[in-house]
């Protein structure tokens, strides 16, 4: 059963994510802050991380992704570097911010726009999990 770390500060959004994730048999680990998310990423070694872009401050999500993908060999998150990250964003459609590993803008593997379409979410997760096998 793949383990999914959900880093999201809005408990209602976590509830919305739980529905399709549990229905698909994923194990869920939730973290409500960026700090807690980093700690749980290290401890629980998830198969995939769902990361909210706008936690606490507008940049907390970005910082978490940068920490997890740090190229510094001494980084305490070096073991987490290959865990796929799916970012939740409400701003992709309303800004020209670009996402994706190839573009060097933001080190995440894919993104899902809020409001979440559960089918799109599951499809993107499956693709990332398949790729990282």
């Amino acid at each position: 059963m793949p383990k999914i770390l959900v880093i999201e500060d809005d408990a209602d959004m976590v509830a919305a994510l739980r529905m399709p994730l549990e229905a698909n048999g994923y194990e869920i680990v939730a973290a409500a802050t960026g700090e807690e998310g980093l700690k749980k990423a290290k401890e629980s070694k998830p198969d995939l991380i769902i990361l909210d872009v706008m936690m606490e401050t507008a940049t907390a999500g970005f910082q978490v992704s940068l920490e997890l993908r740090s190229r510094d060999p001494k980084s305490e998150y070096a073991d987490c570097r290959d865990i796929p990250i799916l970012m939740l964003t409400a701003i992709h459609t309303t800004t020209s911010l670009r996402f994706g590993p190839d573009e060097a803008y933001l080190p995440v593997d894919d993104f899902v726009d809020k409001p979440i379409d559960p089918d799109v979410l599951v499809e993107k997760m499956e693709r990332l999990l398949e790729r990282s096998k």
Binding site: D10, T94, S96, P115
Partner: protein, 380 residues
């Protein structure tokens, strides 16, 4: 619209030239009406007066002029009122600036020679003072309007960001339920949740449109402006709504031209203009109808037209079409989900890029929206 400083600079320069004076100054009354602040100065008056406010009692010339009649100083050396006259000048005339019965400030002209100004000069200064007072009042009003618009836009931006988050969370929850991830739904539950989802989608559209509207009015957006390829932007809008047109059985076609043509703006803004227009055309054109997007360059301008054979706009609705939240009655009847903000966003953006938008429409026959934008040339 001219800024207040520009109006004042032009006023003193104009006064000095018209009256062949050696200097001129305008002083403005502050809010309490008891103090004067230098507005602008030219010639020998320039750089002489400080920018700090001075009490009216310390300026006998201004005080007297504000009491009614123009004050003429023939020779400053023999005149106790002439404390504020520049050192190298001997003659002065001071008139009050009054707009709609309210004193605004005072206007001064100075001459090096004693007796520089005659009765005609005084009459001219009075006339220039009247014009100046009107110009100052209008610049102040424009300033106040601009400030109000900016703070309104800021308020809308902040509140809608706050609104957007709970709406998207609620949408995500309801979508999960509707897709059966919270268990199987009865027909009745499905109906209820579908209605909730519809309302939430409408709310999301409204919030997004409000954000666009506020963003379009944000002064800081000008920094992001640059050359944008027009054809690509129009093409993206057509591409975006092609599936919807196909589903509906509406023919959506684009006649392209103007390759490499560039206008000054932002890509997002321009995309928003054409997406809104094409989306409306498809939305309000019934099955079997046509939407045609054309472009043509004429001299320094490019004209983009979005023409449809849709429901058209009633004549009485056309004057209100670009107002925020206005929706023509037949549009309301045809589509419940519209926000009435799309065309306000379009107009704001087009005007921001120094263009114009016009509409030609007949109810029941169709509408043509025409956007005219200046072509940007790299050589200036």
């Amino acid at each position: 619209m001219e800024k207040l400083e520009q109006v004042l600079d032009r006023l003193v320069a104009g006064v000095q030239t018209a009256l062949r004076g050696d200097g001129a100054a305008v002083r403005l009354l502050n809010g309490d009406g008891r103090h004067l602040v230098l507005g602008a100065a030219s010639g020998l008056a320039a750089g002489r007066e400080g920018t700090e406010r001075v009490p009216l009692e310390g300026c006998p010339l201004d005080e007297e002029a504000l009491a009614g009649a123009p004050v003429v100083v023939v020779d400053a050396r023999d005149d106790k009122r002439a404390a504020c006259v520049p050192e190298q000048c001997r003659a002065a005339v001071c008139v009050s600036l009054v707009h709609s019965g309210e004193p605004v400030g005072t206007l001064h002209v100075y001459g090096k020679k004693p007796g520089s100004f005659d009765e005609d000069d005084v009459a001219s200064l009075v006339a220039l003072g009247d014009l100046g007072a009107a110009a100052i009042a209008s610049a102040r009003a424009a300033n106040a309007r601009e400030k109000l618009e900016a703070s309104k836009a800021h308020f809308v931006r902040v509140t809608t960001h706050e609104l957007r988050s709970p709406v998207t969370v609620a949408q995500s929850l309801v979508r999960g339920v509707l897709k059966g991830y919270a268990g199987e739904l009865s027909e009745k539950q499905m109906d209820v949740f579908t209605r909730v989802a519809g309302r939430l989608d409408h709310l999301e559209n409204l919030v997004n449109d409000l954000l666009s509207l506020a963003a379009g009015r944000a002064p800081e957006l000008a920094e992001k402006e640059g050359p944008v390829m027009l054809r690509a932007s129009v093409g993206r809008a057509v591409l975006l709504f092609q599936p919807r047109a196909d589903d509906k059985g509406v023919s959506l076609r684009q006649e392209t031209c103007c390759e490499g043509l560039v206008i000054w703006g932002t890509e997002e803004g321009l995309d928003s203009v054409f997406s809104n227009l094409v989306s409306n055309a498809v939305k309000y054109t019934p099955s079997g109808g046509r939407v045609l997007v054309t472009m043509r360059a004429t001299g320094d301008e490019v004209v983009v037209q979005v023409a449809d054979t849709g429901i058209g706009i009633p004549a009485e609705a056309i004057p209100h079409l670009f107002e925020e939240f206005y929706r023509a009655p037949n549009a309301k009847a045809a589509d419940e989900a519209g926000t009435g903000l799309g065309l306000a966003i379009v107009r704001d953006l087009v005007e921001r890029y120094s263009g114009t938008i016009d509409v030609d429409s007949e109810e029941g026959k169709g509408s043509t929206f025409t956007v005219t934008l200046p072509i940007y040339r790299f050589d200036g």
